[in-house]
Every structure is written in structure tokens, then in C-alpha cells.
């Protein structure tokens, strides 16, 4: 399975300024739309909240709090529960934390009992409920699942967090969330939320659905003319946006090949007909690129 490179290209969005749920809803919906527009219909958006864990850790003191947070980020839920239990978190709380981390799906079961949760966890669930309502109203182009056990490996998230996942990929395609404290550390105190799409993972997810990049634009080959005529014709066609190879091509990469015979610097022969290069250029440059129509 793919999706675990050490370094990759990212494409992302940051929404700086607003700190309300409308902004959170906007970025989540935008991520879904962006993936959808790339032709990925199999993805799901997993939404959680950094405050769920923070609420429980508020009731733990000292180094145990940092240790517990480290272990949660590392995905070590066994040690997370061991540490908070050893640090004196009430058994009922440990049970709640365990159950919260196993919960993914509708928010209802947790929404009902949220008064019983630690204050910050309760308000995190409250924010998720608001978000759910907004996303429902807005209509999101991919399924959204609420995941109370979603802990981002990066530590700067302060609110709603999310990731996009898809079949056939062992890592998230995109991840993001609210990071209201981060920009202040660089001198400007602004609320912010956003996401990054791991572009290679997106391609891998698309390939896993059977989709491959379609390039219908023809490849023109030029033969038979003098070198100077051939170069002039090639320049004219390339100037019009047509891909040109001089001589035969060994591998057309799946693109249709149009073979032209160069008569002189302005005319070529195509299928036995002598035609001005300008007409050929107009004709071939107008072949639509199907990539534009996807989505």
C-alpha cells in the first residue's frame, strides 16, 4: 500500500481571521469540494476536535499531562490511558476517555451525555454539533464522519480537526484544522483554520479508484521536410499550443499521434492533403482537454 513518502508536495488553504464555526464549515466543505472536483468520490472526511482530549487532560497535573498528550499524538492509546490512570484521573473519567476515543459516527450518543464530560471536552462536542448542523445545511460533497478519537500528530491544533481518507491508502490524503494559537507565536495573533492536501496521496487514491490522468491532446510528428522548414513548422505549431515531436516517436504515452509531412515552412501534408500550417494549428489546438470536464 502506498502513501508513506518522507517528503511530498502539498496543496492547501488557510482561512485567517474568523474563529467561528462558519469558517470551520467553509474549509471542511471546501476540502470535500476540492477532492470531488479532482474526481475522487470515494473519500470520507473524518472530523474531530482537539478539545476532546484537552478536557480530560485538564484534570491531570504535572508531567503526566505532557506525557499523555505525547502518547495520544503518537497513537499509543494504551499508554495514554495508563498514564492518566496512574496520574489519578477518576476511573469514570478514564472510561469516558476510552469510549470517546473509540467513537466514530453520529454525534448523538455523546451529545446527549455531554454535560457529564469534562468542561472543555463538553464544549468541544458542542462545537462539533454546531459544525454538523452547518455542514448539513450547506451540503457537503463527501460523507462526513465525526471521530472523537482523531488526534492530529501535529500539536498546534486548538479546535476542529479533520482528515480526508479513502480506500486503498494507508495514510490520510489531506488533513487540517483550527490552529488559533499558532500565528501569535510568529507575531500576529489571528485565528486560523486550513488544510493541506498531500498531492501524491490524492493521485494514489485516484489511481486506486481506477482513474488515471487523461491526456487526449494529440502528439504531432513531423517528417520529410528540410531541417529549417521542419523547425519553422514545429515552432508555429508549438506556438499554438500543440505538442510536436520531430521524427517518429517511440512512445506516445497513450496520446493519439498525428503524422504530418513537411512541404515547406508554411505548409504540411496530412492524410494526402496539403494544408497550411495555420489551419492545422487551429484544428489541433481546439481538441478539448478532457481533464477540464471532470468532477
Amino acid at each position: 500500500m502506498r502513501g508513506s513518502e518522507r517528503e511530498y508536495d502539498q496543496a492547501g488553504v488557510e482561512l485567517i481571521g474568523p474563529s467561528d464555526r462558519v469558517a470551520d464549515a467553509e474549509v471542511v466543505a471546501l476540502l470535500a469540494d476540492a477532492l470531488r472536483a479532482c474526481g475522487l468520490a470515494t473519500a470520507e472526511i473524518d472530523v474531530g476536535h482537539a478539545g476532546v482530549l484537552d478536557g480530560f487532560l485538564d484534570e491531570v497535573t504535572g508531567v503526566a499531562r505532557d506525557d499523555a498528550r505525547d502518547r495520544a499524538r503518537a497513537g499509543d492509546l494504551v499508554s495514554l490511558l495508563e498514564i492518566v490512570r496512574a496520574a489519578g484521573l477518576a476511573p469514570a473519567r478514564v472510561g469516558q476517555l476510552r469510549d470517546a476515543f473509540r467513537h466514530r459516527g453520529p454525534l448523538a450518543p455523546f451529545a446527549e451525555g455531554r454535560d457529564q464530560l469534562p468542561p472543555r471536552s463538553a464544549s468541544a462536542v458542542g462545537e462539533l454539533l454546531e459544525l454538523a448542523e452547518l455542514l448539513e445545511a450547506a451540503g457537503v460533497s463527501l460523507p462526513v464522519r465525526y471521530d472523537l478519537g482523531l488526534v492530529a500528530p501535529l500539536g498546534y491544533y486548538t479546535g476542529i480537526t479533520f482528515q480526508a481518507i479513502a480506500p486503498g491508502l494507508g495514510s490520510a490524503i489531506a488533513s487540517g484544522g483550527r490552529y488559533d494559537g499558532l500565528l501569535a507565536r510568529f507575531g500576529t495573533d489571528r485565528a486560523a483554520t486550513g488544510f493541506g492536501i498531500a498531492v501524491p496521496h490524492l493521485h494514489q487514491a485516484l489511481v486506486a479508484t481506477g482513474q488515471v490522468a487523461i491526456d487526449d491532446a494529440p502528439l504531432v510528428t513531423l517528417e520529410g521536410g528540410t531541417p529549417s522548414h521542419t523547425l519553422r513548422v514545429a515552432a508555429a505549431l508549438r506556438g499554438a499550443g500543440v505538442s510536436v515531436a520531430i521524427g517518429a516517436v517511440a512512445e506516445s504515452a497513450g496520446r493519439p499521434v498525428v503524422a504530418l509531412r513537411v512541404i515547406d515552412g508554411t505548409r504540411v501534408e496530412r492524410d494526402g492533403l496539403v494544408t497550411p500550417v495555420a489551419d492545422i494549428a487551429a484544428d489541433l489546438a481546439s481538441v478539448p482537454d478532457r481533464r477540464e470536464d471532470r468532477g
Binding site: M1, R2, G3, S4, E44, D46, A74, G75, D76, L77, V78, S79, E82, R102, H103, R104, G105, R145, D147, G149, L150, P153, Q163, I165, P167, G168, L169, G170, S171, A172
Partner: protein, 215 residues
């Protein structure tokens, strides 16, 4: 996504207990014994038998949704997986050990030299430990028989994995410090844990109940 959950199982000392655990929670394990196949399908589950180190790799990359492997392997491999359940068997400890009675002398040597030599098969675990302690060490990576290193003058201390501690004693070593206690873990791929939460959480609950019910 495959319909079946794929579970990577660590071969070796913990496998018999792993099979016991899986059978106890009602998973089919008959096909897993008595032959040399490494990929076994049974009733909505697919098992991969792999070397312990590779179990963590399979799961981190999503080639298996779940895995059962010792925490010792996870600590040394540093793969990104979710650790869900402590299964309780395969208990062992990472320890720092030194020749019996040599602790004072090696601390004096440390003051003089500013560094200690530590032999180990587990450089990541050792490095993290001494970094956290703020102790400067020179790690010497060995592939086996680490308890020999102090006797032949290769290192001052060792970091090793012990279960009873007998090998240490037989080689004149004593535990200076315990780094971590390890046992078998149920692990999950991060994305699989999200996508297949219900199935995985349900299996985790059953395994946790089984582990909790053992003496």
C-alpha cells in the same frame, strides 16, 4: 477496500498466545497452524504471518489493517500506528544493565570522560532513553549476545530486552534502570482505524475483555 480485515501476526515466541487470544474472542485460527502458508483467509479475516519488525511496517503502511506484535518491537521500529489494546502476554522489559558492583566506578568514569559506552541491539530505544535522562552515551550497535559486551571491554553498559533476568545474572550483570515494560499489543493502521472503526473497536473491546479476565 478489501471486505476482509487483514491482521498481521508476529511470528515467534508470542504467536501461540496470539492464537489463543484470537480463538478466545471467537476468531477462526484453525488455518494458521501446521503448515507454512503466510497468508491465510478465514471467514471475513485474512491473516498475514510476518516477522515481528515487519508487522509494524505492514500496519503503518496500510498493507494490513491490524497487527499483533510486542511493544518492544513498536518502540524500536518507531512506525506510525495506533496502539489499541495491551494483550498482557509476551511480557519483557527494556533495561539498562552494568557489570554487578560497577555502578559507582562507571559513574566516576562518566564524570571524567563525559560519556559512557553502551552496547545494544536497540539503538532507538537506548538513544531516546539516555536523551531523556540527559546522559551522554556512545552507542555501539550489536546484533546479538549483547550481555558479553561489558565482559570483553566493548562497553560500560548495555541496553537489552530481558524477560526473567537470568541471562543478565549468568553474565555478571545487574539492572541499573528499567526503561519500559513491554507486552503484546493490538495495533491498527491510522486510516483503517477511522474507516473501519466499528469493526475494529468491537474486536478491540473483546480482546481487552479477554486480556482483563486473565490472572
Amino acid at each position: 477496500m478489501r471486505g476482509a480485515l487483514r491482521i498481521a501476526l508476529a511470528q515467534g515466541v508470542i504467536l501461540p498466545d496470539t492464537l489463543k487470544a484470537l480463538a478466545a474472542v471467537g476468531l477462526p485460527v484453525d488455518g494458521l497452524t501446521g503448515h507454512r502458508r503466510l497468508l491465510v483467509r478465514a471467514d471475513g479475516i485474512e491473516y498475514v504471518l510476518a516477522r515481528p519488525q515487519d508487522v509494524a511496517t505492514y500496519v503503518a503502511h496500510g498493507a494490513a489493517e491490524l497487527g499483533i506484535v510486542g511493544r518492544d518491537v513498536l518502540l524500536e521500529s518507531d512506525e506510525d500506528v495506533i496502539e489499541l489494546v495491551d494483550l498482557g502476554y509476551g511480557v519483557c522489559r527494556f533495561v539498562v544493565a552494568a557489570p554487578a558492583g560497577s555502578l559507582d566506578r562507571s559513574l566516576e568514569a562518566y564524570q571524567h570522560l563525559g560519556s559512557l559506552e553502551v552496547a545494544t541491539k536497540y539503538p532507538r530505544v537506548a538513544e531516546r532513553h539516555f536523551q531523556r535522562r540527559g546522559i551522554q552515551v556512545e552507542l555501539i550497535k550489536l546484533s546479538g549476545a549483547v550481555e558479553l559486551a561489558p565482559q570483553v571491554g566493548l562497553s560500560d553498559w548495555i541496553v537489552d530486552l530481558v524477560s526473567t533476568g537470568r541471562t543478565l545474572r549468568e553474565n555478571g550483570l545487574e539492572v541499573v534502570e528499567e526503561i519500559a515494560t513491554c507486552s503484546a499489543r493490538l495495533i491498527a493502521n491510522r486510516v483503517a482505524y477511522a474507516r473501519e472503526r466499528q469493526r475494529i473497536a468491537e474486536l478491540a473491546d473483546r480482546l481487552e475483555a479477554w486480556a482483563g479476565s486473565r490472572p
